[in-house]
């Protein structure tokens, strides 16, 4: 018996409002190559990326704190499989605790030879010190920066 299929495509464009907190954060990256976290007054924790309120204490955050450019790797992965509409592999990314922050921010790890996964994993081991690099042309996006392994 013949079984048919029908093709449908979703192609939807959104213009997401980023809010005051994230907008200020991205403007500093674009204009001054400086990353900021935001402090929760109750616990003293500096949240990066910054949010208007703390996940733990639920209090509004109240103070901008410059963080980085140094940091350390908190977790990573190295992708070898191509996924539709995601970047061409191989690439490495993960989360970095920037100096001055208490939470980790996501970003790519560049400049590491990824041809051997097991070897690359040792280069990106948790605790590895990294340095933030900024793109020459920045638009106010998380892709304006990435991390390289520090000496």
């Amino acid at each position: 018996m013949e079984l048919m299929t029908r093709v449908e495509r979703w192609d939807i464009t959104y213009r997401h409002a980023l809010g005051e907190t994230a907008s200020w954060f991205f403007a500093q990256i674009r204009d001054r190559k400086q990353i900021y976290g935001r402090r929760d007054p109750k616990s003293g924790r500096v949240l990066c990326p910054p949010r208007a309120f703390s996940d733990q204490t639920l209090q509004p955050t109240n103070e901008w704190v410059p963080v980085g450019p140094r940091g350390k790797i908190e977790c990573f992965t190295i992708v070898y499989e191509p996924f539709k509409d995601l970047p061409e592999p191989p690439y490495a990314f993960g989360y970095v605790l920037l100096e001055g922050a208490d939470t980790a921010i996501g970003g790519y790890f560049k400049g590491v030879d990824l041809s051997d996964g097991a070897v690359a994993a040792t280069r990106l081991a948790i605790g590895t010190p990294v340095m933030t690099q900024f793109a020459e042309h920045r638009t106010g996006d998380v892709l304006d920066f990435w991390f390289t392994v520090a000496k």
């Binding site: 996940d55 908190e74 921010i105």
Partner: protein
């Protein structure tokens, strides 16, 4: 525990496959519903309410597909709701059904759903969209990469190796070979897993769940209905859930409430379920676990969250044979999520399999003498967790 005792009186599962070109979405739901009603010996007319178990719409490509399922579940003129908590949807749907009966609102609730995960071609493309457009959508995050990052932290914290991960796959495929409903049923070896292609370090192809299609349905009923009609049943004696905050980066660094290596909120969900069921020592009192783990490494922190091993110790116990059929506390005797992942219902299948175990109806993958089981579900960015204790 207050409220009416809630029993499971009927269970229906598809034989999970990669694709179902022979059935559209409502037809797959109907397939599971027919099996569950037949198993329970009742008709749709006795069902008072329906909970539709349905995860992100984009996987099916139909907005609010539960509306299409109304006909399949006989919900015209009845109470219907759709529950979505990502991968834990199926167990949350059962919790919603349970709550209706425990509160005395209904006597009989049907919980049903289906998924066709491969129809969109690439589930990671869809799952990438669950990340926050403000800070994280630009990154190539998906469920595989997110849980590969959990693996790197768990390796760092507890010394887990890639061979430990492969051992989980070997165990679960052995189990699935005995389960006619499972999708991936081929036995494998540590060498074969290690040689399979790398997806997202350290997760390889064989460490990852398949994209599965199929349905699952369960009929829940009040104790008074069950006694009045002299039905056979097993009992949902514990139901718990817990949510984790959104940002993965908050589960690391300084002063975190939970570590991304572990499954803290799952532990809270299990503890709540155990408290309700009156279980104080799960390692002793639980006979079998059906624990949601779509990647081999995640079975470890799930076993630990379920209290079946101390944190970081489950890889060593797995090596000693604790968690396989015939071992101390078999985990995923059905083959688990590693062998079948029809996302919208996967967490319901965990409870279904746990129920079959304590009901002594699990056939070739039966854990001998099982009377108390724990089932779990995980959803979102390792964020929405549910746990159910099922007892004979």
């Amino acid at each position: 525990m207050s409220g009416t005792r809630v029993g499971i009186i009927g269970i229906g599962q598809s034989e999970f496959k990669a694709k179902r070109p022979d059935a559209n979405y409502p037809e797959l739901v109907r397939e599971a519903v027919t099996l569950a009603l037949g198993d329970g010996g009742l008709g749709l007319d006795e069902v008072e309410a329906v909970v539709c178990s349905l995860a992100p719409d984009a996987l099916l490509g139909i907005g609010n597909a539960e509306r299409l399922a109304v006909d399949a579940v006989g919900a015209r003129n009845k109470r219907l709701m759709r529950i979505n908590t990502g991968g834990s949807t199926g167990i949350s749907a059962l919790a919603a059904g349970h709550a209706h009966i425990a509160a005395g609102v209904c006597d009989v609730v049907l919980v049903a759903g289906a998924d066709k995960v491969g129809e969109c071609g690439d589930s990671q493309t869809i799952l990438n969209k669950i990340w926050d457009p403000t800070y994280e959508r630009s990154l190539p995050l998906g469920t595989i990469t997110m849980l590969a990052m959990s693996a790197t932290r768990y390796m760092h914290k507890y010394g887990m190796t890639e061979q430990d991960m492969a051992r989980v796959v070997v165990k679960n495929r052995e189990h699935a070979a005995l389960n006619p409903k499972a999708h991936l049923r081929a036995r494998t070896s540590i060498d074969e897993v290690m040689a399979s292609r790398m997806i997202s370090w350290p997760i390889k192809l064989f460490d990852a769940c398949p994209q599965s299609s199929g349905g699952c349905a369960m009929v829940l009923a009040s104790e008074s209905y069950i006694r009045a009609r002299r039905r056979e049943a097993v009992w949902m004696t514990g139901v718990g859930s817990s949510a984790e905050s959104y940002y993965i980066g908050d589960r690391m660094g300084n002063g975190y409430a939970a570590d991304h290596a572990d499954a803290q909120a799952l532990g809270e969900a299990c503890q709540r379920a155990y408290r309700m069921a009156g279980i104080s020592d799960p390692a002793q009192q639980i006979d079998v676990g059906e624990l949601y783990a779509p990647f081999s490494n995640t079975e470890f922190h799930s076993i630990e969250a379920a209290g079946l091993a101390d944190r970081g110790h489950s890889p060593a116990l797995l090596k000693e044979g604790w968690f396989r059929l015939g071992g101390r506390t078999p985990v995923n005797p059905s083959g688990g999520v590693l062998c079948s992942n029809p996302i919208a219902v996967t967490a319901m299948v965990r409870v279904a399999e746990a129920a079959l175990q304590v009901w002594n109806r699990a056939g070739a993958h039966q854990v001998k003498g099982a009377r108390r089981a724990i089932a779990s579900g995980n959803g979102g960015d390792h964020q929405l967790f549910g746990a159910v204790v099922v007892e004979a």
